[in-house]
Amino acid sequence: MRHLFNTIVLFMLMFTACNLSPDEVTVYCTVDQVFSEPVLKDFERETGIKVKAVYDTEETKSTGVMNRLIAEKDNPQCDVLWSGDPVRNSVLQSRDITKPYQSEQTRLIPDHFKEKDSHWIGFSARARVLIYNKTLIPPDSLPRSILDFTKPRFKGRFSIANPLFGTTTFHMAALFESLGDEKAKQWMNDIKTNGAVVAASNGDVKKRVMNGEMAFGLTDTDDAFEAKKESDEVDYIFLDQQENGIGTLIMPNALSLIKGSPQNENGEKLINYLLTRETETKLAKSCAQMPLIKGTEVPENVPSLDNIQPMKIDYKTTSEKLQVIQPWLKAWTEQ
């Protein structure tokens, strides 16, 4: 019996013998682990600060990280939130979980991609694109605008991800901002009538287009980039690039410092490290993210923001819009 007891105590010690050393930083990351982990490992190597990360993905609807941050509000464990888009940061800001941060590095980022009080700072952006299967639809027959999705010739041939989650929510909120509520609602109802297939996630949209189940769909640049690597049959285009077009949605990664976090200083160091040309280059190479800092080197196959007509939206108001339209989106999904 005593042996058993000792073993249990030893076990407990083995598992609790953890580490609250000052040289560490905790980051909650909703950017896909395949891309974010190497960058964080580099930071660890270069600064000697140990990174403790919690990864979550759009596929899991970021439930883990977001619910954790909200539940941990009174005793934060996380120093930095690295989110794939600013929506989550805005939700947290509205719940008084983030805190403003400014530094030399944050100044490199154009104002448009930062919250005005710097509750979140954007870097390396993705864009919403149309991914298509060349064997099912020739490039010249593709829709040029998102508004073309309602045309009868595309009936039942395209897919979008569940608009309640991930970047698709943000995309829809941006459409509501750009087009106005009435027109946006009409458009959403029309695509539903036109047989839009609602997929579980952007990854699911990508997969359906890749395997030829769908002719085209809406997804993010990183998914499209990945799809192109995997298959010669797919390609992607930016929508609404014509003059007077509404432009395509640009979604920066967004960093926030968590209020009252245990290692604020190391958090700041991590933020400064991420807001560099080097990091943006790494992300451009690994997942075709478009740098926001002027003069950052990018590989040839990565589009540049200079050549894309962006959707003209204010990220903060769009995030607020999103929270307003959520119930309507929910009803739309459930119809």
Binding site: M1, I8, F11, M12, F15, T16, C18, L20, E24, T26, V27, Y28, D32, Q33, V34, F35, V51, K52, A53, V54, Y55, D56, T57, E58, E59, T60, K61, T63, G64, M66, N67, R68, I70, A71, E72, D74, N75, Q77, C78, L164, F165, T169, V198, A199, A200, G203, D204, K207, M210, E213, D222, D223, E226, K229, E230, C287, Q326, K330, T333, E334
Partner: protein
Amino acid sequence: MDRTIGKNIIRFVSFLLLFLLLALPIMLLLLQWLTAGEDTVLLSIINRENLLLIGKSLLMSGIVALLATLTGTICAFLLYKFQFPFSGFYKLTLLLPLLISPYIFAVAWKDGFFWLLGNTAAIYSEAGVILVHTIVFFPLAMLITGSALSQIHAGYEEAGLMTVSFRKMMIKIILPLIRPALTISFLLSLIFSLSDFSVPAFFCVRTFTTEIFTQFSALYNFPLAIGQSVILLLICLLFMLSEARYLSDAPFFSVSVKGSVSKKYHAGNRKIMLHSFLWMLLVSSLLMPALMLTVQSLTGRTMFFAQAWELIRPAAFQSVKLAFAGACIITIIGLWTAYGKERRNHKLPDLLLLLTFIVPSTVLGIALIRHYNLPAVNFIYGTSLILLIAYLGKFGFIASRIIGNGIKQIPVSFEEAASVAGIPSKKIFLKISLPLLIPSLFTAFVLSFILCLGELGATMMVYPPGMELMQVKTFAISANAPQALTSSMTLINLGVTVFLILLLFVFGKWIFKKFQYV
């Protein structure tokens, strides 16, 4: 008298500890929700729409439970009552689907449908969810009814065969005898199906659980989500308590120390039918997903097995270590609660484990975060201990039940004989009960180990920053990695689990041989 007080104190303190660790977080969360004072939230839960949704979810899960129990029972009949070549092979392989996450099944079946029919519309429906859930949960029913069938004494059957035909005997004698096993299979499948969100979410089918999930993760509406979870919890609790009330805890899963005492029949000329039925199940429940994963792993532009292995290796070690520790703790606590319930009539600890068992993973996760995320208990929250607590909450009940049934099978007279001979009760437990319980303990350990190794819902919510776990990593990386990498990782994940199961199986054979007394 002092000793009695001492014993009571120990008992009380242990219970208090279990209560503080597990039940209090959930109760505090409920209390916070109730006292939040948002009447609108309280009222808005019970409306026509929600009731309809609950009805629909219950109906779907009910069909799943019925089909899973039916399929599982047929399998159990074939495998445990008939003698034919390869029945051992079927017994083992048909259990493997238990190791695969429902989500992987959903993806594989969707891909499979597309592969075969060029169209996936049919599976994006209630029928798709029912199909996948049935395939995922029938092995559980098979395990439970199979165990019950092998406990039926040959004498009952032979006595029946004297007067009626084989078919009548099966229906009139065997089926009523395994009724507790059938009921618990039905209820467990129902509860598991009711609380899974991954499959309906993937197939875009709205159920009550996806609704709760949406409230949590899209709308961050905690009060509403918790309120809805409470309803789900009450439904599950109602089912489980009625089971306990009407079946008075009849054994539903037993590990026979004595080996099978039941009668076995020759399959005769029905062998072909039997094999084709089992192969059909094997194809749909194991080969199909495995084939899809293999095809996807091999048809990518690059082979990712090496990379996938590099990614999983550190996480695999950590996961196995944690699952091992989890299974140890679950088995020990399960033994304590089961022994208390069966021999000392202390039902509360077991009831507490039942409560945490039916709480949805997300709610359990949030309750644990709120309760443990305090500077004073950071040694729990910031470490693997929080995961061990979550595992205990999720699977303690199952272990307690398995061990409890093991205890039921030890005649009380074994302990009384020792007691009369002047052996103190601690010694009786250690020298008589414990050795006789080893097969049950081992089974509880193995099942807990498998379940811990695959647990995702609560793990995702509470795993300490910086820790790498196999199941979380496979899931998190799958988001944007090439299909071939994701499939390779899943296959490796599966391979590691199957390898460990085989190891445990070999070890188990040794254990059962050593502790088999007939």
